[in-house]
Each structure stands twice: as C-alpha cells, then as structure tokens.
C-alpha cells in the first residue's frame, strides 16, 4: 500500500521468504535487504539496524602491496574501491550462509564467493573477489576492451569483446567484464591465499549496453543498470572484509584503494509545502511532513516558515529522488493515498469538443449494424498469405523487424486478407457471414490510413452494392457513382477481384473505394465453396464528402401516377445508360424512376435483356390528368427508341 507489493510469502524451515516486487526506480536503495529493512522501519516506526562491519586491520600489511588501480575512463567507472585480505582459508560456507543464499536463488560456491554474493544481497552493492596472486603485475586497470580481446567467464562462457565493453584488466589481459561477470583467470580456488575485494561503481548505460550486446544479464548488471550509489562502496567492502575475517580467517590489509575523483554529494532540494498540498489535494500538517522526511533519512537543512519552504538534503542512496515531485511522492505514499479524500476538480467547465472523425466512424458502424453486418477487429499484421492477395501493392509493404511469428511479418496494407481469414474461421458452421472492419492500414514509407472494408458470403454483387449505397445514404454522401474497373497491365493479373464483377466507387472524379466479387481463383485457393462479395473503402477520403445536413422535401398533397415501361436492350447495355436516357427527357412531372426488373432468358431474343422501370409522375399543385402523363410517357419512349437496338415493349 505504501511502497511495494509482496507477491508471495513462503515458509522455509523456521523462516519466511517474502517475494517483493521492487519498483525499478527504487533499484538503488531497495534491490537489497538493507533497503527493504529501511523501508519497513519508515512505515512501521521500528528501529533500523545497520549490519556489523567491525574487523581488525593488520597494520603490517598495506593494501598497496596487494593491488593498485588505474581507471582509464572516469565516466564509465565513477568509483573503484578495493580492499585486500591475506591468508584466507578457502572452504565451504557455514550452513546459515548457504541456506540464505539458496533461499534467494543463489548457488553456494565457496566461503569467499558466497560472502561477496551475500553482501551484494544485503547492501545492493555488487562485489567481486579476485585471487590477488593471479592478477598480473598486481595491477587492476579499468578500461574498454580492445578489438579481438576475448574473455572466458567463471561459468566457462566465451565472449568476444569490443570497445563497447568495459573490462577489468590486469597489465596484460581482461580479467572480468566490469559490473557484469568475473573471468575464469583470477578465480578463487582451493589454493587461493590473498583476496582482492572489488567494490566499484559503474555507469548504468555502459553496463546496460554491454549486457545487451553480450546477451549476459547477472545480478550485478541488473543493479548497475539501474544506477547505484557510489558512496555505498566502502561500507560493502568493509562488510565483506568483516565476514571474510570471521568465516575464512585471514588478515585485512590496512587501508583501501579508492579511485573516486568526482565525489557524489547529497542533493539539496527545495520543498514548497503549498505545492505539496496542491499536488496531493490534501492539507497535510507541516509536522507530519517533516516527520515523514526525517524517517526517510532526508535531513531538513533550513525552513522558511512564512513562505512554507523546506530545504532538505537527500541521501545519495536515494538515486530516485532528484526533483521536488519525487519528494511529494515520498510524502504522499508514506502519508497514505487512502487518506486523501476524492475531490472533484473545480476548474473551468469548458465543454468537450466534438470529435467529428469519431462521430463519422461511429455512425458508419451503426449503419452497418443496421444492415445486419457484424463488426470484427483484426490484427494490424498479416503474413505472406495476406501479402500475396495484395500483390500489386507489394512494394509498399512495411515489414516488422521483430515479428512474433511469420503470420505477423508485415503491417497490413489492406483489411480484406484478414477478413477472408475470418470467413475461414466461421464458414464451417455458418454461411451467414456479413462482416466489416474499420481500421488502420500501413504503407511505405510512413503512411497510415483508416480504411473500411467488409464482405458477404454467398450473396450477389448487387447485395454488396446495396449495402454500400445504404452506407452512403446514411452518411449523406452525395454524388456517388460506380465506374468500371480498368486494370493497369501490372495489376490485372494480380488482382483479387473478379475481373467482370467489380467496380470502382467514385465521388465526383475521386476514387474512394472498390467493390465486387472476390475472384473465383482466390476463392478456390482459400478452399471456399461459396462466392464472396466485398468492399474496400478509403474512409479518410470518404469522410470529406459526408454531411450531417438533411432537408425535408414536402410531400405533395396530390396523388402520384405510376407508369411502367419495359425496354429490350442488348445485354451489355448498362442500367445507367437507360436511366440517363429517361432522365435526359427532363420532365419535371417525373419525380422518380425505379428499376424493378432485369431479366435475361430463353424467351427473349438472343443477346438481349429486358429492363423494366416504374416511372413515377407527380405534380406539386394538381392532380395529373391521364393525357398529361401519356404525353410525357410518349416522349420517354421516343427517347429510348432513338437507339435502333433498343425496343420499348408495349403491352
């Protein structure tokens, strides 16, 4: 509730293991038992005890005679601290230490290595122990690796190094990958007598880079990656020296090597108590705030009572606290968010803006729902199969660099391939499939576009055309027409459409989409038995032609007269052509013309079809006389028969 979540509590022997999920910004102080203990003491008020570090130094032994250190890059390695212990006895660790390491998921090795690991768990400071006698020239050099340098780590893994990898080297060769893993060469073994303890600090992004490059993540690299407090180095080394002396004997050499050119000092932050209250939305008494800060170890340097300002010193272990807002978080969480009562904001009530794009999208969805379509959501990816269907656009496909599977190799460049997959999923238990999707497609170089596509199984071209017309009516998009598809030579063979049963959807001279039957070849490849009709519309283009305006047209009080007209025409004549002829007569008495039958059959002359229309006559101001209607009807018949191939059928 106040800091971290405990994921699990497990009983081990007489003890308990708490699995705590530490937030990554608290890695520096809380990837350690001391940090968690400190946190507990802040929240519970219990005392925080620091582990013992009291060891005996041997005045006769100088650390300098065991090791010297040179740091080549001070940014990469802000601090290198080392201690030396001589005359140790290598052996297994005592049971308590082994058990504790095992509980934390570490494998016990020998007393020295175990102590280094144990202290890391305690303090968060990764340590490394070298066999001091195996370091050539007794000199440690912190430098970047040279090209072609190699390294065999403690666990016998071989790595090729390069200049991105920071190493710990002796005079001749790398002996460890800095901050990540030790090398085989200066390994502690049964004969090891003299130990050099490294308690260093490395640059987080350099460790991260190397760790990714080598594909090597360790407890040490994890801690350094998140950034660690260089001021912790001496304490951890002392604690290790204390434990070594206790568990492996030996003499601790006097002094330590410390290369620490730019000391990290505690930050001073200004905390404006008015701002604290304003951010949290709660007036927290000054005394409470100060008590929280003190418990956290933040020293209050100065107070300005009048302006309610505090100046505080933040311990360097709290690497996450760098600005005032970080302090507010500390106050908020320790105080308890549950004690902050909800308050509705008082800010100005500006009415929200209507988002027209979303309005049209939602309207479109409603229109298709009305028309009996189901909305689907598909992945934005598709694989080779999808790409094949849209072969003509292959050059515009965007590839995913790290796809989860070959099925998701590309970003989709069209919605239809995935919609066809949906058919595949459903066809075995229903033929009743009418689906649509409104979603983004992606094109090279960096284009993304909202498209609307859908399909119907076992329906005709005219059904899908009707559905699309229904959409345009609902969106108030006027001037829509259908143009015959004239494929360019390069996409004619690649098209997924039936070459004769498809059309371009146009508004004015703009092509906004496509509709028709899916080519039988594609249907066959997919293994379907039913035909599929579909549409594919550039929704962004369409949105430019939509309109919410609707205007009522008065209904005439006078009755309408309906006359039918049937015309026999060659079968390739389009309904549009006939309609154009009829409408070309420009009679204001004709208020509507409807095709109600289109017939081709054996009774008709070969190569002909019969088209029958209702012609609706109506006047605004009078009941029409039969003669008036006849006169106009005759004009229409005449116009239709201008073409010698057309024949109006009289009954």
């Amino acid at each position: 509730m106040h800091s971290f979540e405990v994921e699990e509590v497990k009983r081990v022997g007489d003890d308990f293991i708490l699995d705590i999920s530490v937030l990554p910004n608290r890695a520096a102080d809380c990837f350690s038992h001391m940090g968690i203990a400190k946190e507990c003491s802040v929240l519970t008020g219990l005392d925080f005890q620091i582990p013992k570090t009291l060891f005996k130094e041997d005045k006769g032994l100088k650390v300098g005679s065991f090791v010297s250190v040179e740091v080549k890059d001070k940014t990469a390695c802000p601090r290198y601290f080392a201690k030396a212990v001589s005359g140790v006895k290598i052996g297994p660790s005592p049971k308590w230490l082994k058990d504790r390491l095992k509980s934390c998921g570490l494998r016990p090795i020998n007393n020295i290595v175990d102590i280094a690991n144990y202290v890391m768990l305690e303090t968060g400071q990764p340590l490394h122990a070298f066999d001091g006698d195996k370091i050539e020239g007794k000199k440690i050099i912190v430098r970047f690796a040279r090209a072609k340098e190699k390294m065999v780590t403690l666990d016998e893994q071989k790595f090729d190094l390069d200049s991105d990898v920071l190493v710990i080297a002796d005079e001749k060769k790398p002996v460890a990958i800095a901050g990540i893993k030790g090398g085989k060469l200066p390994e502690i073994d049964a004969r090891t007598k003299n130990i050099v303890i490294e308690s260093a600090n490395f640059n987080p992004s350099i460790i991260r880079k190397a760790s990714r490059k080598l594909g090597l993540k360790t407890d040490a690299s994890l801690r350094f990656e998140h950034g660690f407090d260089p001021n912790m180095a001496p304490f951890a080394a002392d604690r290790a020296a204390f434990l070594i002396q206790k568990l492996a004997g030996g003499k601790v050499a006097k002094g330590s090597v410390d290369v620490y050119p730019n000391k990290v000092l505690p930050k001073t932050l200004k905390v404006d108590l008015n701002y604290v209250d304003s951010m949290l939305g709660k007036d927290i008494p000054e005394g409470v705030v100060k008590a929280i800060l003190r418990k956290l170890g933040f020293q209050i340097l100065k107070e300005e009572k009048k302006s309610k300002l505090l100046f505080i010193k933040v311990p360097t272990i709290r690497q996450d606290v760098t600005i005032q807002e970080d302090v507010i978080e500390e106050i908020g969480r320790v105080f308890g968010y549950e004690k902050i009562d909800p308050v509705f904001p008082l800010s100005s009530a500006v009415p929200p803006k209507k988002n027209l794009d979303i309005f049209w999208q939602e309207l479109t969805k409603d229109i298709f729902k009305e028309a009996g379509f189901c909305e689907v959501y598909n992945y934005s990816f598709f694989g080779q199969e999808g790409a094949e269907l849209l072969k003509s656009q292959k050059g515009q496909l965007i590839e995913v660099k790290n796809p989860l599977s070959s099925e998701q190799k590309y970003l989709r460049i069209g919605l239809l391939p995935n919609l066809l997959k949906n058919v595949e999923r459903n066809i075995n238990y229903t033929k009743d499939i009418r689906i649509f999707e409104l979603g983004k497609i992606f094109k090279r170089p960096k284009e993304e576009k909202l498209m609307l596509a859908g399909l119907m199984v076992a329906e005709s071209f005219y059904h899908v055309k009707g559905a699309v017309d229904h959409l345009f009516e609902g969106l108030g998009a006027a001037g829509v027409w259908y143009d015959e598809y004239k494929p360019t030579p390069e996409d004619s063979g690649a098209s997924m459409w039936h070459p004769k049963k498809c059309a371009e959807i146009k508004i004015g001279d703009q092509e906004i989409g496509f509709l028709g039957e899916i080519s039988p070849k594609v249907i066959g490849t997919l293994g379907f038995k039913e035909s599929i009709v579909s549409f594919d519309i550039d929704f962004e283009k369409l949105s430019r032609f939509v309109s919410e305006e609707k205007e009522y047209r008065p209904i005439s009080r006078f009755p309408a007269t309906i006359r039918d007209i049937a015309v026999l025409v060659p079968r390739t004549v389009k309904v549009d052509e006939v309609l154009n002829k009829i409408n070309g007569v420009k009679e204001e008495l004709v208020v509507d013309v409807d095709l109600f039958d289109a017939y081709e059959g054996e009774e008709l002359p070969k190569g002909k079809k019969n088209l029958a229309f209702h012609i609706i006559y109506q006047a605004k101001n009078r009941t029409l006389k039969s003669e008036e209607v006849d006169k106009t009807q005759d004009k229409i018949i005449k116009a239709l028969e201008e073409d010698p191939g057309w024949q109006v059928r009289k009954r």
């Binding site: 971290f4 951010m279 939305g281 709660k282 929200p352 988002n355 989860l404 999923r425 238990y429």
Partner: protein, 340 residues
C-alpha cells in the same frame, strides 16, 4: 282467406328458429315466415279481406309476431355468426412457442460498445476525445515521456520495431505530448486506441490491444481530483458503487506514480480466482504528469500540474461482459461477436 292459427304459427316458427343450425337454414326459416311468400307475409297480405274490426286485431297480433320473430332471428343470426367466427378462429390456431423470424441483426464489437460507454462518461465530465498515430517514433513513444535510450525503464515496454525507422506505439501516452504541443492548458482529454506489445499471447495478454489514455492539466489539479474522477468513472461504467485504491507505482512520465486497483467485482473483495485471491484487481497506471513531459511538450512546467492515466479497454470490456480470454476479441469468431 286461409284460416291460420297465429299462435301456432308463432310457436312453430320459434321452435324452428331455435333449432336452426347454420345461417343458411336460418335464412330459409326467415323466408318461410317473412319472405315474399312467407306464412306471416301471407297473413298480413290477407288482412285487407278481413272485416274492419277483425282486421285491426289480427293485424296487430300478426305484426307483434313479426317483430318478435325478427328479433329472434337477429339474435339467432348473431349467435350463429359468432359461433362461425369462433370456429374459423379455432382453425387458425398457431403454435406460439415456435421461434419467431428475427430481422437480420448486426452486431457491434464489444470493444466498440465498451469504448462508446467510456467516451460518453468522460465526455460528460468535460474530456474531449482525440486520436493519434499507431506508428510512432522513439521520441514520442519514449524520450518525450522521460524514458531515455539505454535506460532500463525501456524494458517495461516490449516493442515492435519497423523497417521504416518507426515503431508501433506501446501505449497511448505519446498523445499527451502530441496534444499539449498544440493545445495550451487547461485541458482534459482521453485518447482511445490500439497499442502493441511484443509479447507472447495468452488468455490475458495480447500483442494488439486497446488502451485509453487520460490527461487533465490545469493550475491546481491534484491526486484528490484524480481519485474523484476515476472513482466516478468506474461507478458509472460498472453501474455500481466500486471501491478504488491507489498504490505507489513507477512510470517514468508521472511523479508521483500509482497503480489503481479496484475491488474485485466477482467476490466483492473477499478473494477469488479472478483476483488471484487478493480481493483487488489492477486496473490502470496513473500519476501526476512529470514536469519533464510538460517540458517535452513545450510548456513551462511551473504553474501547470495535472494527472494522466492509461487503462486497458480490453480488460474493462472483459470484466463488464465476463469474457475470459482476451484473444476472442481479435478472433473474428461470429459465435463470440453475435453475443453482443
């Protein structure tokens, strides 16, 4: 003139009428007595030949009988008609338990329905709905949100990278910066949209899913305000009083940062499998907008403060409709979709 016993005639007629079994025989009876050559008609026609005194008496009696018979006929006719109608209706009996013929019904995806509801609730609280691109660059997706390159925080978002140098947005948060670049506070927005994570899918994880970003920035927007807005949202979305709690969390683009938990709707906080026996469900990440984010959007952070949140719409939808597998949403399976 024939001698007719009117009383007898009345009796006979009455008997016949009462025993008529259908309209046709009733009609015949009617003709038999009051038709052109009907018995009663004949009596009435013969009146003229009677002596005056007798004429009046017989006439009155005959007319009475006629009236009586007519009303009797009417009554019987009505009765027979009703019976006929009833019989006809009887024949038209249908099985009302047989299923109806449904009109062709379409269905909106449950995520669309959930999103509409969310949008509506936030709009009523003054939030505008905006959208942003799905292909993002590293700046908006990471750097501008205080997630620098080579920072372990980037590991929190597993990312799809594209060959054109862009990436698929891992959250809707880039729109905080995109929006604030063009709009000066005070502002309140929500940004719904699909986001992408490079992670293996299972019942509760998808590589494509929907998120809803929220952002409110003004002079004094506080944690308390956030609690009020988000509490109101959940209450209205789920239609019941729901308890919400904030737990400290870490997202680089907010400070303080928290995780919002909601009491488990399934068990009411007692603990059950759907909340892993904790009584709480993790609903979203949120916090107070980090000054670096305001700065990245070109604002001077001083004087502006606000909250931001990001919630998973799939999760919300799944809880509302008790859907147990996130992958169903993207399966295109009509057996799933037609339930909504």
């Amino acid at each position: 003139m024939m001698k007719i016993d009117l009383k007898l005639l009345k009796k006979e007629a009455e008997k016949e009428i009462n025993s008529a079994c259908d309209l046709q025989s009733l009609n015949e009876i009617s003709n038999k007595y009051s038709g052109k050559k009907g018995k009663l008609t004949l009596v009435l026609k013969s009146l003229a030949s009677l002596p005056k005194a007798k004429r009046a008496k017989v006439g009155a009696e005959a007319n009475d009988i006629k009236r009586f018979l007519n009303s009797l006929l009417d009554l019987k006719a009505r009765e027979l008609k009703e019976r006929l109608e009833k019989e006809a209706e009887e024949k038209e009996w249908i099985d009302i338990s047989a299923p109806g013929n449904k009109p062709l019904a379409g269905h909106l995806h449950p995520l669309t329905q959930a999103r509409r509801k969310v949008n509506e609730i936030f709009q009523s609280m003054g939030f505008s709905v905006v959208e942003g691109p799905e292909m993002e660059n590293e700046w908006y997706n990471f750097d501008a949100l205080n997630i620098p390159k080579d920072h372990p925080a980037r590991d929190l978002w597993d990312t799809f990278y594209l060959e054109n140098g862009l990436l698929l947005r891992t959250h809707t948060s880039p729109n905080q910066v995109r929006y604030m670049e063009k709009n000066q506070p005070p502002l309140r927005i929500i940004v719904p949209g699909v986001v992408y994570r490079h992670e293996a899918t299972d019942a509760s994880h998808e590589s494509n899913f929907y998120q809803l970003e929220g952002l409110m920035v003004d002079k004094t927007v506080s944690v308390a305000n956030f609690k009020a807005i988000i509490g109101e949202f959940y209450q209205r979305f789920f239609g019941k009083d729901v308890k919400v709690r904030l737990i400290p969390s870490y997202f680089p683009f907010v400070e303080p940062g928290f995780q919002v938990d909601m009491i488990c709707l399934n068990c009411g906080g007692k603990g059950c499998p759907s909340c892993s026996y904790s009584g709480w469900l993790e609903m979203m990440g949120a916090g107070m907008v980090h000054p670096k984010v305001l700065k990245a959007a070109g604002l001077v952070p001083k004087g502006w403060q606000g909250f931001a949140f990001g919630m998973g719409l799939d999760r919300l939808m799944m809880m509302k409709y008790k859907v147990n597998d996130i992958r169903l949403s993207y399966s295109g399976d009509l057996r799933f979709l037609k339930q909504f």
